[in-house]
């Protein structure tokens, strides 16, 4: 009788242990993403969010990290600060996330930063423009993997224009009338004379504008031979098309947002250059194949627009892989401060964060343009490394 009781007790304890182990294994690494899935900027941020979702799903299908799945909580902030604030509060106080991600307009940053600092939870800008606080000396809690980088972008762009132009350059600058875009283009305007470039026009175009011809006419009348645009894609491409409609024959350098590859194919203009930090799918790297396979599982977005979010997914995996179980925000923060991600060709080199540099130690640029003979996008300038100090 006594033997039977012990036997039952043993079995019960074993069952409880198994259940506990199973429950432990099911316990996820929980991260919260507040993204502009709709509203202003959604054309950029929704594909980023989608790529992170696909990456995490693929990661979980392979067994997750240290045997634990990654739970990605996605909320649509409609690019509104009040919603981002509500999401950050929910993530931190209700969901108990280890890490928050933001893929939205810069107006949503302050409330999320405030909440991150209050709760001591790291905030990772994935696909949204990197705030100044991630550059050295970095804020302890803020990190960024986004390809575009204010200041560095314009410095590289002006160097490229000077290098590519055969003679003197009369430069027109184009921004969207939002603070981040205007600030960058104004910086480029100040910088241009130091590169021997003459700025002749600076157009800040309101979003959205039904007709870009009046702005283009002003640029053409100013006698610009080159145009440099650092703005959301719609402003860049519509200004360029309006300029061509007016018979302008100059060269145009725009930032390569996530839809740049398809757009080069649509425009088929050899003098429309795009520069950025993500490799085009035309290179057909193994990592591109992985993205295409993940996208084939079902997404509304063109696979060529998923690279930016895929890089964020790679960073997320690398960070969580450096966190032992049970995870805490403090452990995640420590892992973020020493992360080094092999981007496998999606970028020009590894993405590395240090305790003082939460942007990356080296940033890489590439320039593409359309080639009529090859009927495809070709490199106008291969990876160029820029040290971030």
């Amino acid at each position: 009788m006594q033997h039977r009781t012990w036997h039952r007790l043993g079995l019960t304890l074993a069952a409880v242990a198994v259940l506990f182990a199973v429950a432990q294994a099911q316990e996820p690494y929980r991260v919260g993403l507040s993204a502009a899935l709709t509203g202003r900027g959604a054309e950029t941020y929704a594909p980023v969010s989608e790529a992170i979702r696909l990456y995490v799903a693929r990661l979980n299908a392979r067994g997750g990290i240290h045997g634990h799945p990654v739970e990605l909580l996605v909320e649509d902030n409609v690019a509104e600060p009040s919603r981002a604030a509500a999401h950050a509060k929910k993530f931190v106080s209700q969901d108990g996330v280890l890490l928050m991600l933001n893929a939205s307009l810069s107006s949503t940053y302050p409330p999320m930063i405030h909440e991150a600092k209050r709760a001591g939870v790291p905030l990772f800008f994935a696909g949204s423009v990197c705030p100044r606080e991630v550059y050295p000396p970095a804020d302890p809690l803020l990190f960024c993997s986004t390809a575009f980088a204010a200041r560095y972008d314009s410095e590289f762009a002006l160097d490229f224009i000077k290098e590519t132009a055969a003679g003197p350059v009369k430069l027109a600058l184009v921004s969207m009338s939002i603070p981040i875009s205007r600030g960058e283009v104004d910086y480029a305007e100040q910088l241009a004379p130091s590169r021997g470039i003459e700025p002749v026009s600076n157009q800040s175009i309101p979003p959205p504008t039904p007709n870009y011809a009046p702005f283009a006419a002003k640029i053409k009348a100013a006698g610009a031979t080159w145009v440099y645009a650092w703005a959301p894609w719609v402003t860049q491409v519509k200004t360029f098309e309006a300029l061509r409609q007016l018979g302008w024959q100059g060269k145009f350098l725009a930032y390569a947002h996530i839809n740049a590859e398809e757009e080069l194919a649509r425009l088929q203009d050899e003098h429309f250059y795009v520069f950025g930090a993500n490799a085009f799918f035309s290179h057909n790297l193994p990592v591109h194949q992985e993205i295409l396979q993940a996208a084939a599982q079902g997404t509304m977005h063109p696979p060529t627009q998923l690279a930016e979010g895929w890089v964020a997914g790679m960073v997320l995996e690398a960070v969580l892989a450096g966190v032992s179980w049970p995870p805490t925000p403090a452990k995640v923060l420590a892992a973020m401060n020493r992360v080094r991600v092999d981007t496998r060709g999606l970028r020009g080199g590894p993405l590395e964060w240090t305790p003082t540099n939460h942007f990356r130690t080296t940033h890489y640029y590439r320039v593409y343009r359309w080639d009529r003979r090859q009927q495809g996008a070709v490199l106008a300038k291969d990876w160029t490394a820029v040290a971030i100090k």
């Binding site: 007709n211 870009y212 006419a217 409609q245 007016l246």
Partner: protein, 290 residues
């Protein structure tokens, strides 16, 4: 010369959109604040029909136009009909809700990406020289032609056809019109249909000229001051208002700061509200009735 062309094309876009605001207001006294979204849907409908009827662009355009007309009728039958005789404010609030719903639906169905119906139609948008160094895009020229056809057609329709006369009567005095046998629901449905058709056409032309995305709604909103400046119950007023606002906007870009252009329509509107609240061609009685 280019300045004139730019002004005319912008004015034509505004006039086409404003026409919808005026039609609905004139007949039902409702400010349709979902008109920007209905205009945007016109562009998206063209995108869809262009893909569905690949290789048959004219059919795609015709079907998109019919769908726009049908959408306007549907909005009235399903939604606005229930607010006939109710407070105008309630109806306006419903149009705001409708706008939010349509914006969400557009993103769900077509994503937030900038898309190009012209590519799907297999058409080009070449620049056409007008002499004197001025050029106009084919889509711009079509927009000008569309304004002539839509406004000319509407003026004839309202003046000479039985349905047009009924529509004017319903706008003038709905109770009396109903007592004289005018079927108000049909007239109102037709007004909503035609308004959405003209807005949809503007959306299609805009999409052909420079692509379509969710921000097209704001273009629709910018045309609202045009309708107010012209006088909300006057089609001719909408034409003049469009010219005035577009000229102010283009001149601001050319001679002031491009940033000013964004607020110029609202400056013109403010000035008009201070000087003549019922608009250039609007009627004081109609304004006071509201």
């Amino acid at each position: 010369m280019q300045l004139v062309v730019n002004t005319l094309v912008l004015a034509a876009t505004y006039a086409l959109i404003a026409c919808g605001y005026v039609l609905v207001y004139r007949v039902s006294r409702v400010l349709n604040l979902a008109h920007g979204e209905l205009m945007m849907l016109g562009g998206y409908l063209l995108l869809t029909t262009a893909s569905l009827f690949a290789g048959r662009p004219l059919l795609a355009v015709a079907v998109a136009l019919l769908l726009s007309l049908g959408l306007g009728l549907l909005v009235y039958v399903v939604l606005m009909r229930h607010f006939t005789g109710e407070s105008v404010l309630a109806a306006v609030l419903v149009t705001i809700a409708l706008g939010i719903l349509l914006r969400g639906l557009a993103i769900l169905l077509w994503t937030a990406q900038l898309q190009y119906p012209l590519v799907a139609l297999g058409w080009q948008n070449p620049a056409l020289s007008l002499g004197g160094g001025a050029v106009i895009s084919a889509a711009g020229l079509l927009t000008l032609a569309a304004v002539a056809v839509v406004y000319g057609g509407l003026l004839l329709f309202l003046r000479y056809t039985p349905w047009g006369i009924r529509m004017r009567a319903a706008g003038e005095n709905p109770l009396l019109a109903a007592q004289r046998g005018v079927a108000l629901p049909q007239v109102l449905a037709l007004a909503w249909g035609l308004a959405t058709l003209s807005g949809g056409l503007a959306g299609m032309l805009l999409a052909c000229d420079s692509g379509i995305d969710g921000t097209a709604v704001i273009v629709g909103l910018k045309a609202f001051p045009v309708a107010l400046v012209g006088g909300l119950d006057s089609l001719s007023g909408a034409l003049v208002g469009a010219l005035l606002v577009a000229a102010a906007e283009v001149l601001a870009i050319a001679y002031l700061d491009p940033l000013v252009s964004d607020v110029v329509p609202f400056f013109v509107l403010l000035a008009m509200l201070l000087l003549r609240p019922w608009g250039l061609f609007g009627r004081r009685e109609a304004f006071e009735r509201v």
